[in-house]
């Protein structure tokens, strides 16, 4: 690998590692499942690297990456979305535009989650982590927690509502201090 190429690669990685969570969250808001988002993100990363030459140094990497991700999502909805329960393209486009505009606030929410996540009890945290791990099997996780599958989803629902409430509260407090 030449030195230039190496530097170039370093720049890319630096930018990418910084903005990856935002791009991932952006994609997640547009597709039905986390696994779909993972698939799309892999494709996006390859395009980003291929096109990194065209990216102006000092430009807004996050905006550029989300732009490319948006294309990939729409292509995915067109190709693979047919046999899946997905939202209408018009709705997805609306959400894409609005959520990009809203990204600073959404980013704060993601950051606030780290604090809120620490506030819940260890057993609940473990259970949530298990349910969210990529190969997490909901059936097994539910059984391990002594709940039915439907009961487990209800529990997940309540936990998320609670976390969201905590996030809103945390950010409101931050804004007022």
């Amino acid at each position: 690998m030449s030195e230039d190429h190496q530097n170039h690669h370093q720049q890319f990685l630096r930018a990418f590692t910084t903005h990856e969570p935002a791009v991932r969250a952006f994609v997640r808001r547009l597709v039905p499942s986390r696994a779909d988002a993972d698939d799309i993100l892999q494709e996006v990363s390859i395009v980003l690297w291929e096109k990194f030459d065209n990216f102006r140094e000092g430009g807004d990497f996050k905006a550029w990456a989300c732009g490319i991700a948006r294309f990939k999502v729409l292509a995915w909805l067109r190709d693979r979305g047919r046999d899946r329960l997905v939202l209408n393209t018009e709705v997805v486009e609306l959400i894409a535009d609005e959520s990009l505009r809203d990204e600073p606030r959404l980013q704060k929410q993601r950051e606030a989650l780290e604090t809120c996540f620490e506030k819940i009890s260890q057993p609940e945290r473990d259970l949530l982590s298990r349910a969210y791990q990529a190969n997490g099997n909901i059936r097994e996780t539910a059984a391990a927690s002594g709940r039915t599958i439907a009961g487990f989803y209800q529990w997940l629902y309540r936990m998320r509502q609670m976390l969201l409430k905590c996030i809103h509260k945390t950010l409101a407090q931050e804004a007022s201090t």
């Binding site: 690669h9 969250a25 808001r29 990363s45 609005e98 929410q109 945290r125 989803y153 997940l156």
Partner: protein, 494 residues
């Protein structure tokens, strides 16, 4: 249940893949016509993504060591497997970058060398399980090609081939092109590699430190600390929400490559050999002291931490800051016409100020007071108060100095020895058992010991940046063969 709740349930059913076709249709309608609904929807899915990110870093509790089965044993298969992996990784750079997103049940790393650890052996595959080691050394290669050495006590796990979590312990990494971006996650923040050799020290209490041996690393303290770029020879203390520069310590870390050599020495019974040699020395009638720092009850007073010594699970005092020291009081008030000093050390940083190996408390009250140190020029020095160098001496600074610098192999354990003979007026220096230099004295008083410090002297103007394992003080001279044997019996390398 009100309609608000219904809507939120609907979002979550969609998000969890539970929604039926009619429900998705309903969701579509609500989202199409209502900005507030879309806002709520975005928040829920945003949370989902952030929760997944947190969960990825929060892995289930320990698998038992029995589940770490060696997958292959022979050299040939091991190296070819790694060769293929690194070949694939280098051809498909991006595939390797992309691979840290989709954790599947495949190994993330392979143990290439283990020294002094019973549960884990060469060839063990590491998945996402937590690994806890109480003693010994491990060397690991991630599937992306990152070489990592870890020293006990440590607890760690791979989140992916490119993300290593260190709960506590010490690791050093050697990152090839194929693994650029390799990240070490600590409780206080992260170190992101940009193509380097670097080390991370995560004490079980206190903040983590990043040390860059070569290249560049981005340090990112948790809780919104600023990102900081670190280059060759720089070190940084990760603190929640902040961080600060640290003095660079290179030898604090067992480096990739060293573990195999430590392992080979253990295999041929080097630790037992060292123990036997130690027992022999204890019976030497001229023995003044032999400190091995193993027993808690007999540890000298002072300010220092304890780290691992040359052997798995053995202990060695570690000195970090100027002023860190250990107090000893040996040799009484008598005069020693012959004296041998020897120690195993692992030094981090040379130069200013002097590194104190052994400084008796005074200087000037009595002739013969002993100061043994490493100078700014990295040479070893034995200074006795009131002594004079012979004319035409090679030493430049008025005291007997070694010819070679102390660290021919920086970042490893080295054996230092000096032999003093007042009647013959000679000082002889040895590195790793090899004779280095003989200095003649014009005036040579018998040596005096008594209260002394390791790592410091009176006024916080000395230090010892590193570890010391075994200090031998003998009231007689040792000849070249004896020093050589002392080294051979005590070396942790093969």
């Amino acid at each position: 249940m009100n309609s608000n709740n219904d809507f939120e349930q609907l979002i979550q059913r969609y998000m969890d893949g539970q929604a039926k076709s009619a429900e998705v249709e309903q969701l579509n309608e609500q989202l199409a016509g209502d900005h507030e609904a879309r806002k709520k929807f975005c928040e829920q899915l945003n949370l989902d993504s952030a929760l997944a990110a947190i969960a990825a870093g929060d892995v289930p509790e320990n698998l038992s060591p029995a589940e770490l089965k060696p997958a292959f044993q022979e050299q040939g298969r091991r190296s070819s497997a790694i060769w293929i992996l690194s070949l694939v990784a280098s051809f498909f750079l991006l595939i390797s970058i992309a691979s840290w997103w989709k954790p599947v049940a495949r190994p993330l790393a392979t143990v290439t060398s283990a020294a002094g650890i019973e549960e884990i052996s060469r060839g063990s595959l590491l998945f996402k399980q937590r690994v806890k080691i109480n003693k010994g050394f491990l060397e690991i290669v991630s599937v992306t090609g990152a070489k990592i050495a870890i020293e006990a006590p440590a607890e760690f796990w791979f989140e992916s081939a490119q993300r290593l979590h260190m709960k506590y312990g010490r690791m050093a990494a050697d990152i090839p092109d194929t693994a650029k971006g390799f990240t070490v996650v600590t409780p206080e923040g992260e170190a992101v590699d940009l193509g380097t050799k670097f080390g991370v020290d995560v004490p079980s209490q206190g903040d983590a430190e990043i040390h860059v041996f070569q290249g560049e690393v981005i340090a990112q303290s948790s809780d919104g600390g600023k990102r900081k770029s670190l280059k060759d020879g720089e070190a940084f203390l990760l603190q929640s929400g902040a961080g600060s520069s640290r003095e660079f310590r290179s030898s604090a870390f067992i480096r990739p490559g060293e573990v195999a050599s430590l392992h080979a020495a253990l295999e041929v019974g080097q630790q037992e050999r060292s123990e036997a040699a130690k027992e022999n020395l204890k019976n030497d009638p001229a023995l003044i002291t032999l400190l091995d720092f193993e027993s808690e009850e007999t540890l000298p007073m002072g300010t220092y931490r304890m780290g691992q010594g040359r052997w798995p699970g053995s202990r060695a005092p570690e000195f970090v800051n100027v002023g860190d020291h250990m107090k000893i009081d040996v040799g009484g008030k008598r005069e020693w016409s012959e004296l041998t000093l020897a120690a195993w050390v692992r030094l981090d940083q040379l130069g200013e100020p002097y590194q104190s190996l052994l400084h008796t408390d005074g200087w000037g009250e009595q002739d013969g007071q002993v100061h043994w140190m490493v100078t700014q020029e990295s040479t070893m020095r034995l200074a006795l108060y009131g002594n004079k160098l012979a004319p035409h001496s090679t030493s430049q600074h008025g005291f007997p100095d070694s010819l070679q610098p102390v660290l021919p192999e920086q970042g490893r354990w080295v054996h230092l020895a000096v032999v003093y003979h007042s009647a013959q007026r000679t000082v002889r220096f040895y590195f790793n058992g090899e004779f280095d230099n003989k200095e003649k004295q014009q005036l040579a008083h018998p040596a005096r010991l008594g209260p002394a410090q390791i790592g410091n002297w009176n006024l916080h103007d000395r230090k010892l940046s590193g570890r010391m394992d075994e200090l031998l003080i003998l009231g007689r001279i040792m000849n070249d063969d004896e020093i050589h044997n002392l080294f051979e019996a005590g070396t942790p390398y093969r």
